[in-house]
Symmetry: C2
Subunit: 193 residues, 2 copies
DNA sequence: TCTAGAAGTTACAGACCGGTAACACCCTAG
DNA sequence: CTAGGGTGTTACCGGTCTGTAACTTCTAGA
């Protein structure tokens, strides 16, 4: 019989979830597999039975993160069905909320910075997933009736990416505090064209 | 007698220069002190005679980077004496050139991401230096006669920061390719207000 | 109840890390 | 010529890292 207790999740999922959290907080090179398995209430052997290597675990974590992001987009559509412009504003709001709540940027960008080896297996995945997110934002801008949809989407992307990294270097009182104002101003000016 | 041969630079400077280059390329946690000293043509003992610790070396590298950045600003003033608007455009051009030539972002931002421990000694330095750069850009925008100088400067900051990290995750064909267009467009629209 | 597979445990290999000690060397200022 | 400081060399310390082997324990399903 399945009992739904949180304690009884499969070790693989516990490891994945714990690793995501720890990689996010301390960076990939900042946390070892021993620490992950201990925090997940299991052991190293079990980790290596489910994942080929630490790199493999990292990649699975990034995929899981991308999957969570997808859920966000579905929420936008559910909350503002058909209203693409409202969804774009919801995206800005969500981004700002993440900025204020979290403080430690985008897992994929952080991973790309940390894993500087150009042939690292995770880099391919990061590029794919980031490209997909970009395409999605471009599509949203286009469907919202913005003329230069690509340019607006790319500008918003860079602003958000910049805000996330600026938050970690300059702090919360730095330029990232103005993110919403910038983003909303941009959307307004692009609508006017 | 001093002979000016490049070979005869002091070990301390050789270490500092080599460390800057290697930290930049491979990240701080991605390179050990042994590798640095070997590449600098010296040894670990000499490094620890000149720097208290690896963290201390990191901090000195960041200060050196900030110093190089200062030199840029003096070049702007020298090339366009008094013409603040031209200096702002020169800043954009310089930023774009760095983006295309380099590929591996801002040392301070990268360090802030890598050194996630909130009490890491380098974080204070990073915040100070980044804040100084921000103030400088705000001052330039204000002197150039821009009305909302802070907002323009912060927006440009985030755009550049975002472009540098996006370059590492999505690649050169990603949003960062449009950086100049975005920045110039922003300056134009802020002038018109 | 029995069994097969999943999970836990312990120990270990081999490499690398930051940092230090002891000692030999060289080069320059006096 | 000589003394001393900067430098090079070698060896080492204790710790941490990823990854593996061998063995025991647990648990779910027939």
């Amino acid at each position: 019989m399945e009992d739904g207790t949180a304690e009884r999740i499969r070790p693989r999922d516990r490891i994945l979830e714990t690793a995501r959290d720890m990689f996010h907080k301390h960076g990939i090179k900042g946390v070892g597999v021993d620490a992950i398995t201990e925090a997940a209430g299991t052991n190293k052997m079990t980790l290596y039975r489910h994942f080929e290597s630490k790199d493999d675990l990292v990649i699975e974590c990034l995929r899981a993160t991308a999957c969570s992001a997808n859920a966000m987009w579905q929420k936008f559509e559910a909350e503002h069905p058909g209203d693409k412009l409202a969804q774009l504003h919801a995206w800005v709001r969500m981004a700002a909320d993440c900025l204020m709540m979290d403080g430690r940027g985008c897992d994929m960008a952080n991973a790309a910075i940390e894993l500087s080896e150009t042939d690292h297996p995770a880099r391919r995945v990061i590029k794919e997933l980031k490209q997909a997110q970009r395409d999605r934002l471009v599509g949203l801008c286009r469907d919202a009736g913005i003329g230069q949809a690509e340019l607006l989407a790319d500008t918003l992307s860079l602003l958000l990416e910049g805000a996330r990294v600026s938050l970690q270097s300059v702090g919360a009182e730095g330029p990232s505090a103005q993110f919403v104002r910038m983003a909303e101003g941009l959307i307004t000016s692009f609508k006017a064209r």
